[in-house]
């Protein structure tokens, strides 16, 4: 397979259009299954009661907020090293969805924190570093659009995104490095300490979040391609055929 064939915005525009609906369909199906497991089948948590069900959104969105940032930074690295156009467009397409997931992780965490910790917000290491991640997404998007020449925006924002990667291990290990109100890892490289149905629901919801993010990024990159290639002949021919 010739990977460079799809590194051209022209061919990728079509490929993204064909793939996005499938990712959205997988996301919807797995969300239905995951919500059924999480909201209807899984039992009450012994210590927290029913409110623990927030976990089925909180953990998947928090994982995706970090994974999408990492993916975005990888595309940014490709942009800086190979000066490829499509990688910069992909990074721009991922950022808003990453920011949405980061916001949802913070929002659901806060509504989970109130009944269990007694407060919506506390400036501890895990919460603060996740908030920094949200600002990194915002900063990336602002910088990417701050230049008259979009290629300059690509490079400047790519540099910011790559520097921001240092925040990811800080988020991930914050619950081990510092004394925080946030609980430690229930699921990690050493296995899981969760009830099997709860774990299954959480993993299915994570898969759904992953598929949704892929669909949203591919749908958005098509608009980014159209915006950037507005003056190219192939874009002008689009509506005519």
């Amino acid at each position: 397979m010739n990977w460079f064939y799809f590194s051209s915005p022209v061919t990728f525009y079509g490929l993204a259009g064909r793939l996005a609906p499938w990712f959205f369909a997988l996301a919807a199906l797995s969300a239905a299954w995951g919500l059924w497991l999480g909201l209807a089948v899984a039992p009450r948590d012994a210590t927290q009661g029913e409110v623990y069900r927030v976990i089925f959104i909180h953990v998947p969105t928090a994982w995706m907020s970090m994974f999408l940032y990492f993916l975005m930074a990888c595309y940014c690295a490709l942009t800086l090293i190979f000066n490829t156009r499509l990688s910069a467009m992909m990074a721009r397409a991922i950022a808003p969805t990453g920011a949405l997931f980061t916001f949802l992780a913070l929002w659901t965490g806060s509504f989970w924190g109130k009944p269990t910790w007694g407060t919506y917000w506390v400036w501890d290491a895990r919460l603060t570093s996740e908030l920094v991640l949200l600002f990194l997404y915002f900063g990336y998007m602002a910088l990417a659009n701050a230049f008259e020449d979009p290629r300059r925006g690509d490079r400047a924002s790519a540099l910011l995104a790559i520097i921001g990667v240092v925040n990811l291990p800080i988020i991930y290990f914050s619950v081990q490095w510092w004394n925080t109100l946030h609980q430690g890892m229930s699921v990690g490289p050493k296995g899981s300490s969760m009830h099997p149905t709860m774990l299954q629901a959480m993993l299915v919801m994570s898969f759904s979040a992953w598929m949704y993010a892929a669909g949203a990024a591919l749908a958005r990159v098509r608009s980014v391609i159209l915006e950037r290639e507005r003056r190219a002949q192939w874009v002008r021919d689009l509506g005519r055929s």
Binding site: L39, A40, V41, A42, P43, R44, G49, E50, V51, R53, V54, I57, H58, T61, P96, T97, L100, F103, L104, W107, T108, F111, W112, K114, P115, Y212, A216, A219, R220, R222, S223, L226, E227, R230, R231, V235, R236, L238, G239
Partner: protein, 58 residues
């Protein structure tokens, strides 16, 4: 199935507000992003149309 009735389900053991504020935010977020994606595509297509018209005038 964990619940005995619908009202049991909606009450979430007394934590309805916190649970539904979380699941509601997810729903709202996905709906808003869906709308934004459509708006962005419509704008991009309109800009191409505009470009085409400008060229036709010249």
């Amino acid at each position: 199935m964990w619940w005995k009735s619908w009202s049991d389900f909606w009450a979430m053991g007394g934590h309805a507000f916190f649970v539904w504020m979380s699941f509601g935010a997810l729903l709202a977020g996905v709906v808003v992003e869906g709308v934004l994606l459509r708006v962005r595509r419509a704008r991009a297509l309109a800009a191409i149309e505009e470009e085409r018209d400008l060229e036709a005038e010249n």
